[in-house]
């Protein structure tokens, strides 16, 4: 019996087919605030200087292969993979490599990056820049994976896990389903929504390419029901294709999490500490599917992406197609400037995004949005005592007990935190969002996760 405060608004929760699917445990429904969902994707002007951080993906940072003074063309390799879980980085602009130095990035730290002085817009010859739709998939599975690896593709949803690694299941495991993640459950963000509306056919070709690479017969595109236009559009396009279905989903945060999405779409549960391949699934974002299309059919490496610039006080909430390395300041300018009472600039959505410390921070492969929050929205309420209301427990999509985990992390009882499965936390922030005492639960959970992760890794080494 859900408590009164957990009653969901029902606007989007029933569709043509009656009750819509969603994941089983917890979840919240914050204000959607999809301000920019009607703004078509605009191509952003080239920056004067592109700042390309070398650590753009989950895992090992890439190693630079250019040096100061080199002239590069768009699409030329800037840095190569630094290990198994790593990705190539290509020049997003043409010009001269001004220097390879420490640059501030979304992590709040200065890390190595390549700075390119932009000069013209010269592309490599092998990149096909036409808009023509190419539906013919001529490559075989292995060639596709090689191509995706060379193009430096990473998960575009924000986690930036190298795509090719996901496409190579460990021996003995076989993928059965490809799930394309068009959920976009974060409030405010609309980049995937716009991409589905404007690049639907390309996304479907990308999906077919991924299906071929994985050798699966079935693919499901999961879309939340607050994007009916995208659902209709994709359903219409997918009609003629075998094996691809579009699944409307009830609006529920954090449905875009891999494990939540699999549960919602297929009612399968990924065991604790395991990957989706364990239940025969591979999940890719719609943005990734589009990038796969461009990489395989058009030879175009990952050099630009759609970024939403939004916020209550933003004059023109927009979706931009921006080159990697564009400073966020330029995107904000293009959305008609920084509102006066901005309290916080967040890279990503309001739930999982991270506050940025400078306007120099560049767009990277994982930037899905820039959210400008007003001062009163951005301020934190003072922390109160825990009243044991268990709201955090009831909204946790992983079935954890955030109040307990945050407490044991704060007290440094990391063995207990490990036993209570702190590593299963997906850091969605639902607990902190719902806490009536404004306890920074997720802060402490992250702290505990960092420590427990380090302990587990050092145990693995010994």
């Amino acid at each position: 019996m859900p408590a009164r405060h957990l009653k969901r608004r029902t606007k989007h929760n029933s569709g043509k087919m009656g009750i819509l699917k969603t994941f089983a445990l917890g979840g919240i429904h914050p204000e959607e605030n999809k301000l920019s969902s009607d703004a078509p994707i605009e191509r952003l002007a080239l920056p004067g200087q592109a700042i390309v951080p070398l650590g753009q993906n989950l895992g090992v940072p890439s190693k630079p292969v250019v040096k100061r003074g080199d002239l590069v063309k768009v699409g030329q390799l800037l840095a190569e993979t630094g290990g198994f879980i790593s990705a190539n980085i290509h020049a997003p602009v043409s010009g001269k490599v001004a220097k390879i130095d420490n640059v501030i990035d979304g992590t709040g730290y200065k890390r190595p990056g390549v700075i390119i002085e932009v000069d013209g817009d010269e592309w490599l010859d092998e990149i096909d820049r036409s808009d023509e739709l190419n539906t013919e998939i001529s490559l075989d599975g292995k060639e596709i994976i090689d191509k995706i690896k060379t193009a430096g593709l990473v998960g575009m949803g924000g986690a930036t896990f190298p795509t090719y690694v996901k496409l190579m299941p460990p021996p003995g495991k076989k993928a059965e389903y490809l799930i394309i993640n068009g959920v976009e459950c974060e409030p405010y963000l609309t980049s995937d929504h716009r991409l589905m509306l404007e690049k639907g056919p390309e996304i479907l070709v990308g999906t077919r390419i991924l299906m071929k690479a994985l050798n699966v017969e079935k693919a499901v595109i999961g879309i939340e029901n607050n994007k009916p236009d995208a659902i209709n559009h994709m359903q219409e396009l997918a009609k003629s294709l075998d094996g691809i279905t579009v699944q409307p989903l009830k609006v529920q945060y954090p449905q875009g999490g891999e494990k939540q999405l699999i549960k919602a779409v297929l009612n399968r549960e990924v065991p604790s500490g395991k990957l989706p391949i364990e239940v025969g699934c591979v999940v890719q974002n719609v943005g990734t599917a589009f990038a796969v299309y461009e990489a395989v059919q058009k030879n175009k490496p990952l050099i630009e992406r759609v970024v939403t610039v939004t916020g209550m006080a933003v004059k023109k909430p927009s979706n931009f197609l921006a080159r990697i390395g564009t400073p966020i300041g330029q995107l904000i300018e293009a959305a008609e400037g920084l509102p006066e009472d901005t309290g916080k600039i967040i890279g990503g959505g309001p739930m999982m995004g991270k506050a940025l410390t400078s306007l120099e921070v560049p767009v990277v492969k994982g930037s899905s949005g820039i959210l400008l929050m007003k001062k009163e929205e951005a301020s934190r309420k003072p922390e109160g005592p825990c009243i044991r209301c268990a709201r955090c427990t009831s909204v946790c999509p992983m079935g954890l007990e955030p109040f307990l985990l945050s407490r044991v992390s704060k007290l440094g009882k990391f063995d207990m935190a490990e036993n209570e499965k702190i590593m299963d936390c997906i850091e969605c922030g639902s607990c902190q969002y719902t806490c009536p005492a404004s306890i920074p639960l997720l802060d402490y959970l992250r702290l505990g996760k960092n420590k427990v992760g380090a302990i587990m890794r050092s145990r693995g080494r010994n």
Binding site: T107, G108, G343, I345, K354, L447
Partner: protein, 322 residues
């Protein structure tokens, strides 16, 4: 009636006797010999159970010393930092060994990125924990090596020896410090170091751990070490090494001549508890008892740092959201 009492007494008595005999034999069979000296040594230790010696508690240290005395006939590598030389002398007497005198150490905070020297450009509102903030971002002032000022070291200290100075936002070590090293462990940025206490508590150290090049380091903090190597050149004792644009003074080689302090252009090298210099037109940087007074005695940043710059930036203050 009498019979029952007698039977009961006899039955219980004989049971007790049998049990006592069994216990006696078991006890002698499985007896674990424990050196009585362990207890004696433990008695002599400060009983702080701080772990500063590297062992989990004073009992473990007592066991380690006793077994080391038995096996190696020495106490090399074993030291109780809290008790210092006196306690180690007593331990040595109990175990019948000579103990080498060690120099007492003290925790030293190697950052002077106070609120005045490193003006805040962003505002942090996350959990009050350095470890957390460290995982999240570089720091309010923009120096990603400097003190975050959230007091993990203060929480770690069992001896009430380290406190935050609200004026500077930096931790200050007082004389209660026993050099147990808990704060050194707690600091996620390795700012705190155990250094020689020095004669009359005098010591010289580089109060900065910024490994950036000079220009970016100085941009964020007016008192950062910029790696200019002036101190290295002036040092006659080879005590100063420069690594990644950061000077480090080896306290075992330093003779406290104070030449490096004079040449440092950013006042990143600190002298503590020295007498004021006489024939110097410049106001000496000498300080009294604690680092707190030291910090406040220092002139506030003479050059106006990037404060205006920070204000002029289009972005107003931002904070970190978890």
């Amino acid at each position: 009636m009498n019979n029952i009492v007698i039977i009961a007494i006899a039955a219980l008595g004989s049971l007790g006797l049998v049990a006592a005999v069994i216990l006696y034999f078991v006890a002698s069979k499985f007896k674990v010999y424990e050196d009585p000296k362990i207890d004696e040594v433990e008695e002599a230790l400060p009983a702080a159970n701080c772990g500063g010696c590297g062992f989990p508690g004073c009992r473990a240290f007592a066991e380690a010393t006793t077994s080391s005395a038995k096996k190696n006939k020495s106490l090399e590598g074993l030291n109780c930092p809290v008790g210092g030389n006196d306690v180690m002398q007593t331990v040595g007497n109990i175990l019948g060994l000579e103990v080498e005198m060690t120099e007492p150490l003290i925790a030293v905070v190697r950052c002077n990125g106070s609120l005045a020297n490193t003006p805040a450009k962003v505002k942090y509102e996350g959990a009050t924990s350095c470890a957390f903030a460290h995982a999240l971002y570089g720091g309010e002032g923009g120096c990603q090596y400097g003190c975050l000022g959230l007091g993990d070291c203060v929480d770690a200290c069992d001896f009430d020896a380290i406190h935050m100075n609200p004026d500077t936002g930096l931790p200050v070590v007082n004389n209660k410090c026993t050099a147990c090293g808990a704060c050194v462990e707690a600091c996620p940025r390795d700012i705190i170091e155990l250094r020689k206490k020095g004669p009359k508590d005098r010591r010289i150290f580089v109060s900065c751990v910024n490994k950036e090049k000079g220009a970016p380091a100085k941009k964020n903090c007016s008192v950062a070490c910029i790696g200019c190597t002036k101190c290295d050149k002036v040092c006659k004792f080879d005590a100063i090494t420069i690594d990644s644009f950061l000077a480090y003074i080896d306290f075992s080689k330093c003779t406290l001549c104070r030449k490096c302090v004079e040449v440092c252009p950013t006042e990143a090298i600190w002298e503590v508890n020295f007498k004021p210099r006489k024939a110097k037109p410049v106001q000496p940087k000498t300080t009294a008892e604690t680092s707190a007074e030291k910090a406040s005695a220092r002139k506030p940043a003479t050059k106006k740092v990037s404060a205006e710059k920070a204000d002029a930036r289009p972005a107003p203050e931002k904070k970190n959201e978890a």
